[in-house]
């Protein structure tokens, strides 16, 4: 789809989220809730004593029954549906031909670690903080957006071999 049209579509979805629930979109929050829930099932004791996890279990709250968690299952469904529609579903590793599969996967893993760690610190990722934040004109949204793109441009030179 043309990027501008896809942008309009994404904007309409964001607007719908604002109208229905008074909140923006988000992805990293859902990942966090999955982790919290996982830790809660594996080691309940640890979860209840930790300063971080305990607030998600207050008053018998269930981290899986949460707007953000359900939303990421929606993302998976929507992505799959769109991929099926455009015939893009296929198991594969996408990478530059100049690097090995192993290198690509190691960097993908590291990227995931960094991205979600940073997102927890900034209270939102590109969708939760930058996109939704910009759509309500919050300073936090603009600041996070500038920081993400600025730093990615800054580091781009070091990782150029991975991509071009």
């Amino acid at each position: 789809m043309n990027p501008y049209l896809a942008g309009v579509l994404l904007g309409v979805v964001l607007l719908m989220a604002m109208y229905i629930s008074g909140r923006g979109l988000g992805a990293s929050g859902g990942i966090k809730y999955c982790v919290v829930s996982l830790v809660g099932t594996l080691d309940r004791n640890h979860a209840e004593n930790s300063v971080y996890y305990s607030k998600y279990f207050e008053n018998g709250r269930k981290p899986l029954k949460n707007w953000l968690t359900v939303e990421i299952f929606g993302i998976l469904a929507g992505g799959f549906f769109s991929g099926a529609l455009s015939k893009r579903i296929k198991f594969r590793i996408e990478k530059s031909p100049k690097i090995s599969n192993r290198r690509r996967l190691i960097f993908a893993f590291l990227g995931g670690v960094f991205f979600v760690y940073g997102a927890q610190l900034a209270r939102g990722c590109t969708s939760g903080a930058a996109l939704s934040g910009m759509a309500v004109l919050s300073v936090a949204g603009f600041l996070t957006m500038i920081a993400i793109f600025g730093s990615a441009y800054l580091f781009a030179w070091f990782f150029r071999k991975n991509w071009i």
């Binding site: 501008y4 008074g22 909140r23 923006g24 929050g29 707007w67 953000l68 939760g128």
Partner: protein
Amino acid sequence: MEIRKKISVILLILGILLAILPLSSSRSLFVNPSKLLSEVLNPNVYFTVDQTAKFIVNEDTTVRIIDLRSNEEFRKICLPGAINIPYNSFIKSDPGLYLNDKSKRNIFYSNGDFYSNYALVYARGLDYRNSYVMSGGLNEWFRMVMESKFSGERISARENSLFEIRTRAGKLFTQINTLPDSLKGKFMVSARFASRKLDGGCE
């Protein structure tokens, strides 16, 4: 024409429209005016001071008594359990932040009848139907509850219960308002109403 130019033109036109529109952070009343008029003129938007006194004595949790006077006045004298939202900030901030708990009836009062009735129209115009007024305000409260004396030969059962409530409410009122300032401050902090936190973000 290529799509980039097209979308640029469309966005710019809409942007100019937005820049011209008077988009301040506030809003307007949106209930139909005639409907609002008949709604606020209906006497059932009033609670008498006796009804309010009963709510206070019974510690009724389905009502929330909102004091619209300034913070200084509130600190000096207030109804037991009242929440202070000065009329200024009621109008200037979004009343929805205070009123959107629909399970409770909000009863406005001020010293007289002006602020409370302005607030009533304003709140009901924003479709907060759970808004009411304590008719007569604090002046009426003093007149009815604090200074009423029974004068007559015999007392009927109804009058008796009415006077009992008045006496108990009056006692509570005096107790709270004669507390030393330090204690009173503590009490008010605990009664202060926190505006609702909005859901959102990735927290």
